[in-house]
Symmetry: C2
Subunit: 214 residues, 2 copies
């Protein structure tokens, strides 16, 4: 604990039930993520072994894999909570709001939340740009889970079966693509650009691509 610069408060997806046992378990989880992030940032992803991460967190490698299913999930361990936030954000949107507006608003993080996670998000994006396995995990696990949330929400709102009507999946795919390009633009600027503005702009263009049919 007591990370150097930012507190790096990794939220634990599992409820932190009362009791010393649960607190200790959560501590090792946070320690592992902190150790992983530190080594990934300094040495690189492929250049870091899970054994080294476990040693820095002062646990055995076996314990690391009891907390995280893959090496990549150490870097994206906080994404489960973000997914639930997205689910709630989508559900909280009024039913009479245009669907693309609902999706856009639910995908734009609150300024404060973004500021807290800024550094971590930048590291994730930078590592994803450099290491194929990280990029694959981001796409196939993280982004795919967001897609499923969007598909569920949109199909519910439209009152259609997502296995029959392709539109929920298309909207989800377009939305995730907007996130990807905004993140890439932001990463290319080394985090100096205004991410929320980039993301908002990209998401705002989804509704207008039909107008390209000149």
């Amino acid at each position: 604990m007591k990370a150097s610069s930012p507190p790096l408060a990794f939220p634990s997806l599992a409820e932190i039930e009362p009791g010393r046992r649960s607190r200790k378990k959560n501590k090792t989880r946070v320690d592992l993520m902190t150790a992983g992030v530190k080594l990934f940032a300094t040495r690189g992803f492929d250049e870091t072994t899970t054994t080294e991460i476990a040693e820095l967190a002062d646990v055995s490698q076996r314990t690391l894999f009891r907390h995280f299913p893959t090496k990549e999930s150490l870097l994206y361990g906080d994404m489960e909570e973000l997914r639930l936030n997205l689910r709630e954000g989508l559900a909280a949107r009024p039913n009479d709001e245009p669907i693309l507006t609902s999706v856009r608003e639910a995908l734009i993080p609150p300024e404060e939340e973004f500021r807290e996670q800024r550094e971590h998000r930048l590291l994730q994006a930078q590592l994803a740009a450099r290491y194929p396995s990280v990029s694959a995990y981001s796409r196939a696990v993280v982004q795919a889970s967001w897609e499923r949330e969007i598909i569920a929400a949109v199909s519910k709102r439209l009152g259609v079966d997502p296995m029959v009507d392709p539109r929920p999946e298309i909207i989800a795919g377009a939305s995730i693509s907007a996130i990807r390009i905004a993140t890439r633009q932001w990463t290319a600027s080394s985090g100096t650009a205004n991410y929320i503005e980039l993301l908002s702009d990209a998401l705002g263009m989804i509704g207008s691509i039909g107008e390209l049919d000149s």
Copy 2:
């Protein structure tokens, strides 16, 4: 060789230069893919080891990894050619055609080509539905490479920089999502549904999602 039912003509991405050496090399490549497909189909993906595939193809495991970078690429080894087909298809579209039409037409395979590859595509989709590592490869490697082709073609047509204008990436993401949902619908029907019709319908809806803003 001499596959049971269909010839299963795996196209080799590398040019088949004249000479016995190149022909033999291509033969081992085809043998490896055939062996992999057979074992994947009967035993399952995770349940098949690369050593078993190599033995069935009568080569060493080391040779397998000289021809294919990953186990998954044995299943998607013919995708490089398909990507080049997509590139050419996109480039062949007239400049004055609406961009979404160009993308749609380039993504819909000719009936004959589809018929030849039908079984193989079905196997790929079924394995991707069952095995996370296959799904991850499909998304992160195959589909991502298609996306890049679409982004390049669309940004060129629109005369914009894809790092500045988010629309090419959004169109690409929506298009790949259309492929995914059409493939899922087709797979859910065990290949009995009309894939080309499903795909055409899904792609056709991209231009109209902006109209959902009631």
